[in-house]
């Protein structure tokens, strides 16, 4: 350790570490994601010759963005009041709601898709209350409800985080100037936290564009967005449409992300005509209680219930013998456990790679090591993997690695899972390192600490919760992933991919087996996040 510490004083040694991490990012993550598609650009011609196919492709792309936009807006409108409730209401229900709000986050989207399907579209769900077989049959509405549910906790988390860090002094200042609480929030707080709102919107947007597995489960026979179309094209062996749609999705995503960021910063929320009378009315306790009530109701009906619904049939499965079958590994379960092992194995490897390769890049960003403009550029580049729909990413990656000479499928899987989770880790770590004042590290250095010593004894202890939660985030996201996995997989199937097959009936399974399989996936996810929560709560 002493040798490494001394070495870290050498600027060349440090630069080598950072350069290597950067090269890793560029060569193994960024370029394959972008270039793979590029390599197959000739096959795009296939689409242009077939008008019907072209029409389908275009409509799929438009649907992807339309759904994403609508869902993100609705999520923002419904999530903001809930985040507000959690941070500001002081109600004794806050802790409960806070935990519940995370649930859709914890549940892998594949499970969420199935659970939503059961809740809205099957005879066992809410449809019975209305006397119909399927209140909302699989199709665009169900897709939107699903996307609304799984993006909801993302928005709530981001806004809660922002509100917790927000200096309430601004609001209090507004009140001392005579502003009613509602007015103060509208004219002062919201404009100030606007960047967080934009960021939350973009996260939800990206998630909606990306999600593949669950969408496949609830899309129904007619509806096609980008990921659905790509899967169908892949199954049919049509490379051209696959490449075309992937390409458009990649380019359009990056552009639209940049556009929304740009516009979001420029957008000035209307502070204009203030109606003191109306705003006083809206600030009254009863109005606030009504608003909270409606928010909670929306949350329960559209997010919580559909997410948890799968637990019902799962409970039946425990009782009707399916459970014992499952544990024994007979029949379909043999393949299931293999898939689970694969998913978790990939998760562990992807997490480890991300930690080692992502940490130096996170530090480069957090400490502005490349100067202002270059760091901003790096920051943007690091965001690319989550801007792009993971299914398109998977397509591009598999083309790239296969063109380079056959890389075993397992490694392509590992690389794709690493790629889509890379951004999460780097951003979480960068934020954590930024939270440690540079001053502290600088003081430690002047006291005689070499850079590595300072990192080990000061920076790391102060950010270890972020490292841990970043790791857990990466792990669960990796296990959750369907899009890239579907795009890449030939023989090997990760657990969520297998479950999609089960739900769509590609593999014949009983209803109980389906429910139980999904539940196993949920359970293991839940356990890992529970551990995370306990560790963080314990240290607070």
């Amino acid at each position: 350790m002493g040798f490494l510490d001394t070495l870290s004083s050498n600027p060349n040694a440090r630069q080598t570490v950072y350069a290597s991490a950067f090269i890793f990012f560029t060569a193994l993550i960024l370029l394959p994601s972008m270039l793979g598609i590029f390599l197959k650009r000739e096959s795009i011609g296939e689409v242009f010759t077939d008008p019907a196919l072209m029409g389908r492709a275009q409509s799929a792309i438009v649907w992807s963005f339309t759904v994403a936009f609508l869902v993100s807006t609705l999520d923002l409108l419904a999530g903001l009041p809930l985040a507000w409730f959690i941070v500001r209401s002081g109600s004794r229900w806050v802790n409960v709601v806070d935990t519940l709000a995370d649930i859709p986050f914890i549940i892998p989207t594949a499970a969420l898709g199935f659970s939503s399907f059961l809740f809205w579209s099957s005879p066992g769900g809410i449809s019975t209350l209305f006397g119909v077989e399927a209140l909302i049959p699989p199709g665009v509405i169900l897709v939107m409800l699903l996307h609304f549910a799984f993006s909801f906790p993302v928005i709530v988390r981001v806004i809660v985080g922002e509100l917790l860090g927000y200096k309430e002094t601004y609001e209090i200042a507004a009140k001392t100037l005579g502003a009613q609480p509602f007015t103060a929030v509208r004219t002062v707080t919201l404009p100030i936290i606007k960047p967080a709102l934009v960021a939350a919107f973009l996260l939800a947007f990206g998630r909606s564009l990306s999600e593949t597995g669950a969408t496949l489960m609830v899309a129904g026979p007619v509806f096609e967005n980008g990921p659905v179309f790509i899967k169908k094209a892949k199954d049919a062996g049509l490379e051209g449409p696959l490449v075309f749609v992937s390409f458009i999705l990649i380019v359009a995503s990056v552009l639209i992300f940049a556009l929304i960021r740009f516009l979001g910063a420029r957008l000035r929320l209307p502070t204009g005509r203030v109606s003191p009378f109306l705003e006083r009315g809206l600030s009254r306790t009863r109005s606030v209680a009504a608003r909270d009530g409606v928010t909670l109701l929306i949350f329960i009906i559209f997010v919580l219930a559909p997410s948890l619904f799968v637990s019902l049939p799962a409970t039946y499965a425990l009782l009707d013998g399916t459970f014992t079958e499952a544990v024994s590994g007979r029949g379909v379960w043999g393949g299931f456990w293999q898939s689970m092992l694969l998913s978790y194995g990939i998760g562990v490897v992807a997490t480890l790679i991300n930690i080692v390769a992502g940490l130096p890049v996170a530090i480069m960003i957090a400490r502005n090591k490349l100067g202002k403009t270059s760091t901003t550029l790096l920051d943007m580049l690091v965001n690319v993997p989550i801007m792009v729909p993971s299914v398109a990413l998977g397509v591009s990656l598999s083309f790239f690695w296969n063109a380079l000479g056959s890389l075993p499928e397992l490694w392509v899987l590992i690389l794709s899972h690493t790629t889509i989770t890379y951004t999460y880790f780097v951003r979480a770590m960068a934020a954590a390192v930024e939270g440690v004042s540079a001053e502290m590290e600088e003081t430690a250095r002047t006291l005689g600490g070499r850079p590595l010593t300072v990192f080990r004894r000061i920076t790391l202890p102060l950010t270890k919760y972020s490292v841990f939660s970043g790791a857990v985030l990466v792990f669960t996201r990796s296990v959750d992933e369907t899009g890239a996995a579907i795009a890449v997989s030939r023989q090997l199937k990760t657990a969520p991919v297998l479950l999609v097959d089960w739900v769509k009936g590609v593999v014949p399974v009983t209803a109980s087996e389906r429910a139980l399989g999904v539940s196993f996936l949920v359970l293991t996810s839940f356990l890992s996040l529970l551990i995370l929560r306990l560790v963080i709560r314990g240290k607070r």
């Binding site: 601004y170 009140k175 007015t183 100030i192 003191p276």
Partner: protein, 367 residues
Amino acid sequence: MPHVRIADLTKRYGSIVALNRVSLEVRDREYLSIIGPSGCGKTTLIKCIAGIIHPDEGEISVDGRNVDRLPIQDRELGYVFQEIALFPHMNARENISYGPTVKGWASDKTGSIVTELLNMIKLSDRGNAFPDELSGGAQQKTAVSRALASGSSLLLLDEPLGALDAKVRAELRYELRRFVKDLHLTAVHVTHDQEEAMSISDRVVVMRAGRIVEVGTPMELYLKPKEIFTANFVGEANFMDVEIAEKTEEGCILNVGGLKLRVRSKAIPGVERVIAAVRPEFISIRNHRVHGVDDWLGEIEGESFTGTVTRYDVRVTNGEKLVVKHPISAEEPEFHMGDKVNLSLPADHILVYPYPEAGLEKETSVE
């Protein structure tokens, strides 16, 4: 009628009593400062007046009306925050207009008030600047204008100059007072800087550990502080642990380690063991050859130059160590380390207090 009346105000945070039955009256149009060490409760007090903090017990009335039930936005007063808190997404003009705008004033009326205020603070050409483009002093002046734009007559200032350089603070504080007096306002100004408080206030309130120690005009608190804590907190003082040797018509004679000290004062405590306090600038220092009656002989153990005065640390023959502030008259400092000097402590300026139960160090601690 007092502008603000506070009665038996109490606020607790767990086992800590931030305000302990505090009662105070703020007179109409007076400039009142509240000073005290960190944690004494001065900020809690001012926040209670504004409604930002809710007291556990006690009453607050403004203009004769009890305001305990009024939320912040209905209390009609101006508040200036320590961290300035200008809205970062609005320029100076918009910040100042905020109050009138949310109260529904007509835009031309608002416009003219804002223009007038910008003129008063000499920032008429900076109306379109955003807070981060303004200097610290300009930001603070804008914050004060914002607090006054909707016409409140009561201004609460929470360490308004805390974020500024010493020189800027010294200049801006007079502008603050002028502002308040020109507009006929009542001001309650919280600060930890006692020189700031004294230079611009009509009255000063000294607080400590949730209680009011003393209230008085700056001169009263400086020249005739009633409490030992005030004597140490407001300006510097030499403290001597002494005994009353004899009581006289004008005051008393103290025995300080064998040397005599004559005191002319009406406030002589009844006990024998007392603390004698004298401010460094009241002690005259002369060459040891010029000897006056009752003078103390001492030796200079330390000197430092502070521009307007030279500070000397003098070890008196009776063992006491006294700080003496001597105005600089000639080119060079008059005395140097090791010089023998005569000190004269004027009887009129010696304060006598009963020896504090808690001990001298604890009683005068400013931490």
